[in-house]
Symmetry: D2
Subunit: 360 residues, 4 copies
């Protein structure tokens, strides 16, 4: 259970990292949208391993296939199945994972919950599962752009203690894609890349923060009281592998402000109600107000390291796990399209929900 | 829409802060649980206004009534309706709220979404809505204690820049309730209280952080991939009024650690798999591992301040809002039972979901 | 669980027949609808006991109260709580029901499922639970009429072997309400009333069929493949107490036709696609086609009879149940508003779902 | 939307009849169940076209592939994706379907709802969509047998006016499979087959009734009040293509009985509470009582006939549709596994839901 996201734009991912294939079923995409593999592949290419020297080197081409829901180039309003065949799933190199729990992976928790796990990799807990999310979000982004002019841009805000200076109201995707760490602050990007390479050589890993902004969302998205827009964004982001924290607007930093500093004054800009500051991060009371929606996601350092670690085996005996094979020193560059994807899925879901309630 | 939380223990709150009543329907409580108003009232008393000089002074006794679902002192397995009649809802003093949008409240966003709002207070966006949540959580806590021995303790971790030193593995509710700010670090509590009183006199408000721990949860709660335990906890917490951020385990602080520092080594403690550290915060891959579950929630400073603020009226004309009447300088002490409540609701829901999947 | 109906217009009923109150929470009603108790009470009056000599004589005035979701006479878009206080719930006369299972009631099944039941009446299995449904449907009917011009009319089609001749395309509510059995075929109505009175004197009960028609629904309501409009209508109707069968259009009678007889030819009527016959009952492939939607519901004879019956007690010992007290010889006249209510709830839910998917 | 069935055992089908593939994702299958294609293929073989001379002659081998959720021969507790590639989807012979609405198919209703449709066949409205259901039900049946000893047997009860005499308490699947019409009353089966062949030669089609029984279900399955077991069975069955009616137990026939005839007396059989008759069809108040669950589904005659029919084209102009190509004279033999499948999906869903609520 728990493999579906959304109420009105329902996304169900399927597939293990070392099974035959991974993918997604999207139920609730409105009919008549032009859609082909060309709309989806670029997003998967931003997510896939092997795109630069500072990320995972797993060999996967991640070619999407659309098996249902599209006819003569347009969506039918029926479920869209998108699949990607796994290539680098040879089952070698995994024997140590069969018998020992890797610290801070999901090996032990899956074993405890299910009494069984696909030990040839992370199974569903692998970042590979996000292929389905990113493919679905490619559709969501097309709808958001076409119907609302909404654009989502994510970027690496921080790696370890290196924190970039980025203006969420102005940053462009081109600036983000200008370097392999996906940080639009060029100076800081260079330092981040250097730091990540050093960690890789050390057999160690680094965490960081992704910031993402949605620009152009109208007021009125989000459902009080439990399905607040920020609540669904938080759930969306925390459902990503390795994510440990979420903020919207001022977030944790807002606690050092007083109310008189934090409140966003309203003013009238050419007939449109706006706020002079945006500590709210684009939502008030769970509902969008028409300002930019700004969120941040904290990612812990990748759990796979190239150093010996204390652990137990499946019988509970003490054991030492030796790192071997590939090693991804920092998930942050690839986490950018994942955070963007989850933001897109949460927003399109609320957009469609709001349509229904607006009255005839 | 959006007024229901949970899949297996379904909680639907209803009621506006200045309507006739507020409350909750709980669907999915197992049958046979001993339950009376005496189980619920203490939790409401910890949440209600007027309990100390540093919180809201609204006059409400918040007496719970159970109207269905209980028979001869035990739950029937049918929906439990709990209601509280509003007392301090006289509709006076609110005329200025009818015509002007209060900054960083939900006045404008509700108006934009619905085209109508109950302007005599915050309506559904009021903290008063959380009465239903806290009442439902009283039931959840009883089940968690009876069936699993799980105990949840929340406390104020931080107000403004004052940060308390608390051990989540050891803190008791008595220590939390020992002072009116609900911070178990006595020295820091005294400084927090002083700071809040100063803010009140200044007509200003303060934010902060609530930390909460659930002790005793077994391994196996949480559903990959979207309904991860941390994802549902994040949603639960971010659905609270004024909440802007969520962390589990190391959270945002974890980004300054390397993988070799952050990974939690496994060891065998008397036949039970445990971790030497708990940077994971009790969950790995979305599933509980049997360690304490530790979360933090950031609350912005309360939006109602006693100072003049720039805003617009409902026609969009520039206006100034004058603070008047009551003023709650810091929501943190009352946010403690709210965070505990949402944690309890998320945990019991996953506990019941896991029961169904365990097989016959 | 299972006390909620609908995805977009969500109705949750609560309350036991011999508890303090019964009622409903409606989540998803669009904002701005004029609504007061006067809109709801007439529907409850058609449902309540004691309205004629041929139905249950339980003494209940069934006065609705609206406790949330309405402000200054209009809906807020927030949950609407409607409650009715139970009056005739004195707990006398029920001792025999505490220890013995009444045949073909839900006494045994509730006991088996929950290990506990409110033995002072039928609890949630009582027809009294439908108060919440009928109250919610009063809102649904207002929306259906205002936004779509949809009108729903139900009537008694059959009692025992007495089958009325009624044209669903033309029948009016006035014709239905012209007699106490709610059968618009006046001659047959007289015979039905006579038959029901005879059954009452015999201490026995009768079943029958309610037919209902929705006129004015546009094409496009209903979601393939599981949430077909007819599937949700079937679920809606079968969720009523004592209902054992459902048909749409030709129903079971359609099996005696060949395809060439059954197919509904299309033609163009002033620019609108119509069908010459309506064996489809207004839906094709799960989706409305703009023709009248015609359904039928079979109700078994009421289980409470005034004759001794073989049964077992709660320990499983053989026992004889003696009929006593009040006795409802035929539920059909009161089942009419119940079927209408469930039809209205299914239709408004699909109407709102379709709005969201239509695109921006 | 609407492509998912179930709350705890969630089945989402995907695929158009003339797209690349059709299939299903099953979320919520408990871990550890032995499962391979060999468990699924026999059920698909009973459903597929071309298995006898009296059903559709479309050329499809319908070979199932499992792409996720199974590891080393056992289920992982993760989503199970099963797909079948379409073979006979050549797009020829369909030009007439592009421009004209086939009477009593879903061509017009899909076009009206979506503004687009896959006109090369019935798309999602095709009986081909049920492949995913039947594949998912193969898993459900394995669970029902393993965990509860539940066995489901369906059969053709009636074709046109030919009604079989079958004892649901005793009938075996071998008796059902003994002839091509799947009617265990051998004499009547011969007459049915003859009748269907005559209809085929006439270019016409026939409808009928499938009856199905579930034996061995324990008391306690089903959720009052909206998710009654019979309500979900009704929804399940009515979601099948061409289904127009549903009954449980006495059904429509029960209306000719009086209460004293219809009530099922309880007695004690070796410590187990049983009923002497089973007019209830195995459920009382929405909850199973341990008796056999007996349902019936009415199917209209197949809409595709080999005769000219009045219709309109997509512009609304009058048109005549000529039958051509293949023609399925009676869906009943293939409807048997479909009804069994939907019954299995509804039962396993309630079985798992009940597990969660039983308490720890």
């Amino acid at each position: 259970m728990g493999n579906t996201f959304g109420h009105a734009f329902r996304v169900t991912t399927w597939g293990e990292s070392h099974g035959d294939a991974v993918g997604v079923v999207v139920d609730g995409c409105p009919p008549g949208l032009e859609l082909s593999v060309e709309d989806i592949q670029p997003w998967l290419d931003r997510r896939r391993p092997g795109q630069s020297r500072i990320v995972s080197q797993r060999k996967e081409s991640d070619r999407a296939e659309i098996l249902s829901g599209v006819f003569e180039g347009r969506t039918l309003g029926t479920p869209i199945l998108i699949g990607v065949w796994n290539e680098d799933a040879r089952g070698k190199d995994y024997e140590h994972m069969r018998t020992k729990f890797r610290p801070s992976h999901a090996d032990y928790s899956y074993q405890a919950k299910y009494g069984i796990r696909n030990w040839k990799g992370g199974g569903r807990a692998s970042a590979r599962e996000t292929i389905g999310r990113v493919a679905a979000a490619a559709i969501a982004n097309k709808l958001l752009a076409r119907d609302y002019g909404v654009e989502i841009v994510g970027y690496v805000k921080r790696v370890w203690e290196l924190c970039a200076d980025v203006d969420p109201d102005a940053v462009s995707r081109d600036e983000v894609e200008a370097n392999i760490v996906r940080c639009p602050d060029a100076d800081m990007a260079a330092r981040m890349i250097e730091l990540i390479e050093r960690a890789r050589k050390d057999g160690d890993t680094l965490g960081g923060v992704v910031e993402a902004v949605a620009r152009g969302a109208p007021p009125g998205w989000g459902e009080p009281v439990f399905d607040k827009l920020e609540a669904d964004l938080a759930k969306a982001v925390l459902s990503l592998p390795a994510c440990k924290g979420f903020e919207i607007g001022s977030g944790f930093g807002g606690v050092t402000m007083t109310g008189s500093q934090h409140n966003d004054p309203f003013y009238n800009e050419g007939g449109r109600v706006r706020t002079r500051t945006n500590h709210s991060g684009g939502v008030q009371g769970g509902i969008s107000i028409g300002e930019n929606i700004v969120i941040r996601a904290a990612f812990k350092p990748v759990a796979t390291i190239m150093r010996p670690q204390e652990t137990v085996d499946v019988e509970g005996n003490p054991a030492t796990l030796q790192g071997r094979g590939r090693h991804d020193p920092c998930v942050l560059p690839r986490a950018v399209p994942m955070v963007e994807a989850m933001m897109a899925l949460a927003l399109i879901d609320h957009a469609i929900r709001q349509r229904g309630q607006r009255g005839r």
